[in-house]
């Protein structure tokens, strides 16, 4: 187990390093940011001074080395456009994104697992077929278009929900959150549902497949023979047995929720990290782009590691396979 953890950690560090080089080189290839930042009427000397001040005149490997040295000290450079540390800018926006992603995940779990159980219990009933047809649409519909249609229906035509921003925020342990007051909740509802749709479809399918398999097992027959009500069989016995893959997928998909929040945040002008990324790409604010991607990569590496470890704890068979390898 310890060997496994150490090896996975080393792999994660290597992955981070490779990604940092790729990102740095990639971002370096963008057009000269000086052109955007400096007043067009500036003379040669001013341009040269600004270039030197930002360290853009150094050879690429020197820039990378400087970047890496600072990155390890938690300094990913200052935003070109706002002149504050890029990391600070991202951490300031992070609570909004995490709140949105958590709400979306919660919606997907609360709706997806029961719907999947129902559809798996009676796969041929009309309501099961309706649920499955709905999940196909959830998979096929592009997230951004669903978001637009939601705005069109609920904000423009019906005027029920606001379409932009976070609304009023309340401080919870010093972090601003939206879900503690009504105004914030109305702002949160549409983006969270929009982000949840894809995961909702995924969870429905996963739960349904698991339930269908589990319903054929002997322990279900035995529980029925004991005269347990169907509600208890499915809610306790079946659910417990199909939960392992579902928990794994929920863990793994959390990272992708944060990535897909880029789209949702752009549509609903939700002031999170994703919107910051798109805004930064539009003004070629390199340090912010690099910092965003590196932080996301770290997050993914940590999530993948945690899920792997959790999985091997939950399922002893995985541990055996690792030991033999």
């Amino acid at each position: 187990m310890l060997v496994f953890i150490i090896r996975r950690m080393l792999q994660s560090v290597l992955a981070l390093l490779v990604m940092s080089v790729l990102i740095f080189v990639g971002v370096f290839a963008i057009g000269n940011p000086i052109d955007i930042l400096i007043n067009p009427q500036a003379d040669q000397a001013e341009i040269a001074r600004a270039t030197a001040a930002l360290g853009l005149d150094q050879p690429m490997w020197v820039q990378y080395w400087e970047f890496l040295r600072h990155a390890l000290a938690g300094d990913l450079g200052r935003s070109f456009s706002q002149n504050v540390p890029a990391v600070e800018l991202i951490f300031e926006r992070m609570p909004a994104t995490v709140e949105l992603a958590l709400c979306a995940m919660l919606m997907a779990i609360v709706l997806g697992i029961p719907l999947g159980l129902v559809a798996g219990m009676k796969p041929n009933a009309w309501y099961s077929k309706t649920i499955m047809a709905g999940s196909i649409f959830g998979f096929s519909l592009p997230t951004f278009w669903v978001g637009l249609m939601m705005i069109m229906v609920f904000s423009v035509f019906l005027g029920w929900l606001p379409s932009t921003g976070r609304g009023h925020t309340t401080l919870l342990l010093g972090i601003p959150v939206s879900f503690l007051n009504w105004d914030g909740i109305t702002h949160l509802m549409m983006p969270a549902l929009n982000l949840a749709l894809f995961k909702l479809s995924l969870l429905i399918r996963l739960t349904r497949a698991g339930t269908r398999e589990a319903m054929l097992q002997d322990y279900v027959k035995f529980a029925r023979a004991k005269g347990l009500p169907m509600r208890r069989i499915v809610g306790v016995h079946v659910l417990k047995n199909i939960l392992i893959p579902i928990v794994t997928v929920i863990g793994l998909e959390f990272g992708s929720l944060i990535a897909f929040a880029i789209v949702t945040e752009t549509i609903f002008a939700w002031p999170g990290m994703g919107k910051l990324l798109i805004d930064s790409i539009n003004v070629l604010d390199r340090p912010v782009i690099v910092a965003y991607v590196l932080i996301i990569v770290c997050l993914f590496v940590v999530i993948n590691l945690a899920v792997d470890l959790l999985y091997s704890l939950l399922d002893p068979r995985v541990r055996l396979a690792e030991a033999r390898a």
């Binding site: 992955a15 490779v18 990604m19 990102i23 990639g26 971002v27 370096f28 290839a29 963008i30 057009g31 196909i136 649409f137 998979f139 096929s140 519909l141 592009p142 997230t143 951004f144 278009w145 637009l148 249609m149 705005i151 069109m152 904000s155 423009v156 035509f157 379409s163 990272g255 992708s256 990535a259 897909f260 880029i262 789209v263 752009t266 549509i267 990324l277 798109i278 790409i281 539009n282 782009i289 991607v293 996301i296 990569v297 993914f300 993948n304």
Partner: protein, 295 residues
């Protein structure tokens, strides 16, 4: 080869495929979409990119509105006075073209890389598969965004981004299939005949790992189209000179708040129908060609 021997498996697949009415509807829709997309200049009421035929006075007309010179805009017009129906036909062409091109290229690269990994093994395989694992652990939209942020805009750039996102998936599938195939007797026989490696790889191994891949590729075209639309919507995809469906939707977004829904709604429906029909066909193909489900 007799014609009967060639036709029989095809007929069997066709008959199995036709069992699902939904899949047939999907196939019919898809064929219709392809005809419209390829024949866009012939079936469109207007050439939406010929500025001489556009009139700013016709802008933002609702569906069914009449232009100044008597043409009917069945799906309304956009802020340039462009007929939405024609714009959608041309947009379909661009979206389908980009999606298909990227998928075919990614398939070719994934095939080659996957076959090489399975055949040579050792450190070559280790390096390739680590790279595949690394890439597949990140969501495609993130990789595509970062790539486009560094490459800039353009049709070629978005095709590169879509290829980069997809190839690893094929490489992994091909390697899995090829590892099974390479231990079979026909490969052993070919090795005994001392055929050159490239011939064994591409003439013997390739045809046997290809069919399941083509099915995956069908569904992947839908993914590529959706991803391209999303990136274009975010302003990082297609340039304004080649308006795909995603760009049309993005363009309509700015007018959505004032109730001019048709500029966004109809391109979105076209996108939705395309993706759903491709998925329906792909799903049924997978079931028909899956040996485990065969009766």
């Amino acid at each position: 080869m007799s014609s009967v021997a060639v036709e029989t498996p095809f007929r069997r697949v066709a008959a199995d495929f036709a069992e699902s009415r939904l899949a047939l509807v999907g196939l019919a829709t898809l064929i219709l979409i392809l005809i419209v997309a390829i024949g866009a200049p012939l079936v469109s009421p207007q050439n939406p990119y010929n500025l001489a035929t556009l009139d700013i006075m016709d802008s933002k007309l609702p569906p069914g509105g009449q232009s100044l010179d008597g043409m009917t805009f069945w799906l309304g017009s956009d802020d340039q006075g462009r007929d939405m129906l024609s714009a959608i036909f041309y947009g379909l062409r661009i979206s389908l073209g980009v999606g298909t091109l990227a998928t075919v290229c990614a398939l070719a690269i994934g095939l080659a890389v996957g076959l090489i990994a399975a055949w040579f093994g050792g450190w070559v395989e280790a390096v390739i598969m680590r790279l595949v694992d690394l890439q597949l652990s990140f969501p495609s939209i993130l990789i595509a965004l970062v790539l486009l942020a560094s490459l800039g805009q353009g049709v070629d750039k978005i095709v590169i981004a879509l290829i980069t996102v997809q190839w690893a998936y094929y490489a992994r599938t091909v390697r899995g299939a090829a590892l099974v195939e390479r231990n079979k007797e026909y490969i052993e026989a070919a090795t005994c005949l001392a055929l050159p490696t490239s011939r064994i790889l591409f003439k013997h191994l390739l045809p046997n790992v290809l069919p399941p891949l083509i099915v995956i590729a069908t569904v992947q075209v839908a993914h590529a189209i959706a991803l391209e639309a999303t990136l274009s919507f975010l302003g990082l995809g297609m340039p304004i000179t080649s308006p795909s469906l995603g760009l049309l939707i993005a363009n309509g977004f700015t007018h959505l708040m004032s109730g001019k829904y048709w500029i966004s709604l109809y391109p979105g429906i076209a996108l939705l129908i395309t993706i759903v029909s491709i998925n329906l066909v792909g799903d049924q193909l997978r079931d028909v060609l899956n040996p485990r489900l065969q009766k």
